[in-house]
């Protein structure tokens, strides 16, 4: 599961959707792998406005990556800053969680990740 995907996901429990603590989900005991992907600047500029930057900062810190700037770069800033482009490419698209779990900060439910595939199916009492 890519860090980008993590930025798109929150808790699947309906009651948690309204709570701000349900997003982002917190990685727990995660194994990280990195896949090499051809840079795709068009994709990155398209993704940037859809990324929740403060959640990305949280995740990046929790996974032990260097601190990101406090505010998201604008599209122009990103396009003129090769280093930023490369760093975001590595963080969002190349870095992946292969094993571990994601924990909701609101209800505490843990979603397992196995072989890079996260399982968001809920047990009956949370449906």
């Amino acid at each position: 599961m890519k860090v980008l995907t993590l930025n798109f996901l929150t808790c699947a429990v309906k009651a948690c959707k309204s709570s701000t603590s349900s997003f982002p989900l917190h990685p727990k005991e995660c194994e990280l792998v990195s896949d090499s992907i051809v840079p795709n600047p068009a994709l990155l500029t398209n993704i940037l406005p859809r990324v929740d930057w403060s959640a990305l900062i949280t995740i990046s810190t929790e996974l032990g990556f260097p601190t990101l700037p406090p505010t998201a770069p604008t599209i122009e800033e990103l396009q003129s800053d090769e280093k930023m482009m490369a760093e975001l490419h590595t963080l969002l698209l190349e870095t992946q969680i292969s094993e571990g779990s994601l924990v909701c900060g609101n209800c505490g439910h843990e979603y397992k990740i196995k072989e890079g595939i996260a399982n968001f199916l809920l047990p009956n009492h949370l449906v």
Partner: protein, 441 residues
């Protein structure tokens, strides 16, 4: 300038929607001059040759696009028309190598006649060498014959056209993505040609993010990635994503097979009615083929008995749902309710002008037809139909209307289908297994 799109003569109702979608995608001003479902020749007006190339090159249902040099109801007519319409173009091709070919729709000609018909165009005064392979320019004569002309004793086509070949299409992709050669498929994998057409109609393109909430073995994400989109997928059935056994083929290995892993977004296990995706405009396109309940049951999370399982089960001091082998219970769900859920999800998750395409089945009998679902934030762009004997499936495409243009209307809530078993919840499934005899509703 007038151009002619040479379509293949299959999936007729998909042809114009695909071409129109490609015109939207490339920002091309396309005017359809003439089109008929009975003919593979479609005449269009385009601003330039460059536009013609952009329009045709990634089409699946077009074979090629031609610059029109003339049309007529007979060869005599055509000769006169070519003299009138395209005389100014002749000198441009005076010395280059060239070839002529004949494309007869619903008719046949002997090679002897071919040569005679081609020689009829001597008045063009081309002086370049004729090359049957790698000619600089290719000219083609198109003949439209009445259906079953041979049996009816008709000896001449009812209309003929002449064109200069501009460029071919992306039909080769159908062979590349052929399911027979794909290493990992499941019972409901979408045919490669239709998956690619779906991706085109939904405007899959480089830099865009696509999502399939019923991903299965990944037919749609693969097709979207072929056109350069970054593709995500989820499914309630984890087995289809993970694959089986060690060194297993799975959804991801299909991306490996086609060398498009750079465009693999992610795949995860989730139920659309309990989606983990946050409520935000995340996707440029959503494509899916939701389970109809015939080959693949339509299920969502929950128990058939709504009173059951409200508290976690604890066995030997351990919560049952935390065990690795735990499988959450699922219940049958109404197909029509699912369609509504898909529309609602799309209205939340698509960017402005982003597109949603999904497949839905319906009976051919009018009384039993399933109505196309509507949503106030989504506008229907096209409806394409693939007909089978007693039922057909439709590819319906919507555009997310920008919020500023949405007219808020209070919609009637769909009457909730009663019952807990699959037949009660799904009129299509019920009709299918009863052979669409009257009055299954």
């Amino acid at each position: 300038m007038e151009y002619m799109i040479r379509f293949t003569h299959v999936h007729e109702t998909f042809r114009l929607p695909e071409i129109k979608a490609l015109a939207v995608l490339e920002g091309i001003d396309l005017e359809v001059i003439s089109y008929s479902a009975d003919s593979p020749y479609c005449f269009v007006k385009l601003p330039s040759e460059e536009a013609a190339i952009k329009l045709a090159k990634r089409s699946i249902l077009a074979k090629a696009i031609y610059e029109v040099w003339g049309s007529g109801s007979s060869y005599e007519d055509l000769h006169d028309n070519v003299r009138g319409v395209s005389q100014h173009l002749w000198p441009l091709y005076k010395t280059c190598s060239f070839k002529f070919s004949i494309d007869s729709f619903q008719g046949t000609r002997s090679t002897e006649t071919h040569r005679k018909l081609i020689e009829g165009f001597k008045f063009l005064e081309f002086e370049g060498p004729i090359r049957m392979k790698n000619a600089d320019q290719e000219f083609c004569l198109f003949e439209e014959w009445v259906f079953q002309s041979e049996r009816l004793g008709i000896l001449e086509p009812h209309s003929v056209h002449m064109g200069r070949f501009i460029c071919g299409s992306d039909r080769d992709a159908i062979g590349i993505y052929d399911l027979k050669k794909r290493k990992y498929i499941c019972t409901t994998s979408m045919d490669a040609e239709l998956a690619l057409i779906t991706a085109n109609i939904t405007l899959a393109a480089p830099g865009k993010i696509f999502y399939d909430p019923f991903v299965g073995s990944g037919s749609f994400p693969v097709a979207c990635a072929h056109f350069g989109a970054f593709a995500f997928g989820s499914d309630i059935d984890g087995r289809s994503i993970r694959g089986k056994g060690k060194s297993k083929p799975n959804l991801y290995s299909n991306f490996v097979q086609y060398g498009i892993t750079d465009l693999f977004g992610d795949s995860f296990i989730a139920d659309l009615t309990h989606t983990p995706l946050r409520k935000a405009r995340l996707f440029d396109g959503i494509v899916c083929d939701p389970p109809y309940g015939v080959r693949e049951g339509l299920k969502v999370l929950g128990s058939r008995d709504p009173t059951k399982g409200k508290v976690p089960v604890i066995r030997d001091g351990k919560a049952h749902h935390e065990l690795d082998a735990y499988i959450p219970p699922k219940r049958p769900y109404s197909f029509l309710a699912m369609l509504d859920d898909i529309l609602e999800f799309a209205s939340i998750s698509l960017v402005d002008n982003g597109r949603l395409s999904f497949w839905m089945p319906t009976a051919n009998d009018e009384d039993q037809e399933i109505k196309i679902p509507e949503h106030h934030a989504l506008e229907i762009v096209s409806t394409c139909t693939q007909e089978f004997n007693r039922w057909s499936r439709k590819l319906i495409t919507y555009r997310r209307i920008p919020d500023s243009e949405v007219v808020a209307i209070t919609r009637e809530k769909r009457v909730k289908e009663d019952g807990v078993n699959a037949d009660d919840l799904n009129p299509f499934r019920k009709g299918y297994f009863k052979g669409f005899k009257a009055g299954f509703r």
